[in-house]
Amino acid sequence: MIQAMQAKEIAQKVMNQEELFILDVRNTEDYNDWKIEGRSVESMNKPYFEMLDGVEDVITHLPANRELVVVCAKEGSAKFVAEQLAEKMQREIFYLEGGMKSWSEHLEPVKIGDLDGGGEVYQFVRLGKGCLSYIIRSGTEGALIDPLRLTDQYEAFAEEIGVNVLHLIDTHLHADHISGGRKLAEKYGGTYYLPPKDAEDVQFSYTPLEDGRVVTFGEDQVNIRVFYSPGHTIGSTSLIVNEEYLFTGDILFLDSIGRPDLAGLAEDWVGDLRTTLYSRYKELDQNLKVLPAHFSKLHELDETGRVVAQLGDLYEENHGLNIEDEHEFRRVVTENLPPQPNAYQEIRETNMGKRTPDGEEQTEMEIGPNRCSIS
């Protein structure tokens, strides 16, 4: 018999490193572009349309004793294949409910830690796309950093922990995902902050995220210090929370650095990126814990699924912070960059309020891998 497995269950298995075998029945091009990955996950690709005459060929490649999940774009083809496998193999076969679409959209919350003066930090890991966003709790008030458009998942979590999310902050104008900041600000009657230099063309009102500003909120008086750090975009801004955590947006990741080309101005912004990474951040407290807006490889997740590291450690280990020569740096961040994220221009325009795609269009725009880092 066949059984649905939700994206959430797969996400938890990936994070807890439980063994899983995935048979991905999408076409090979889509599989090669983007698939479910995990240290404990083994996957193989066999398009469903190569199994229309039967599944006998593929059965010999499938493990006998591991949980087996069939995956496709939406779920129809996965169910179609899973039914045949279940019948022939006489065992239980799972299929991914909602397909890769639901995998792409699932957010898994993990707790990063408690703040010294009271308050908590939670990280939302979007495994299917590599996006990271955050809720900072201060008593019954919350701040949400780099919120995705999947607002119902934040709302459910906020309700669960009993916070009212009144501060919605984007560290920059995003090119890889549609922001949920404005929508949530309306919903909670909160404030939507955006760096002014990224917001010159936006079609709505916002509160400027200006360098030096300090936002203090909630019963625990958590403070967010705004720290201008351009380079991924001209407005890119970091946030320092209680002098403990450094939210780097798309400027600095654990195993890579940001790319300066997604707004079409790589040559102009490479100098800013250099200054941010090699001067501005260097002058900060090196004990700050870095919380980026993305991860690109799974090894960046620790054994509990969190993505966090000390700034000082990154200066030792992150290759992007250790390119002494300026010309070499310029070359690395402007040449041979990976392809740009799917529909990145349309996504930027949506985040500026110039486009209002419907739900299905939004999903299509964000499909595929994340590509905000240089490698």
Binding site: T28, P47, F49, L52, C72, S77
Partner: protein, 75 residues
């Protein structure tokens, strides 16, 4: 384009457009052309990939509004 048969797969979700195409193809003779109309966006790349693996020739494909049209020649 001339075709021996037209398969209406509009409104059907993946995998049915390709499943029905294959079934229809099995009833045709070598050299016959099957014209398929579908609306599932997944068919756009899957139909071409299926034709390639099964050896049939995808002669042409086009989009008319929301409708995807394919002409496939049986091997």
């Amino acid at each position: 384009m001339e075709s021996q048969k037209v398969l209406d797969a509009k409104g059907l979700a993946c995998p049915m457009p390709v499943v029905k195409t294959k079934k229809e193809m099995d009833t045709l003779s070598t050299g016959d052309i099957l014209e398929i109309h579908a609306t599932d966006s997944g068919a756009e790349s899957d139909m071409a990939a299926w034709a390639k693996t099964s050896g049939h020739e995808l002669l042409h494909q086009e989009k008319e509004g929301d409708i995807l049209k394919f002409w496939i020649k049986k091997k």
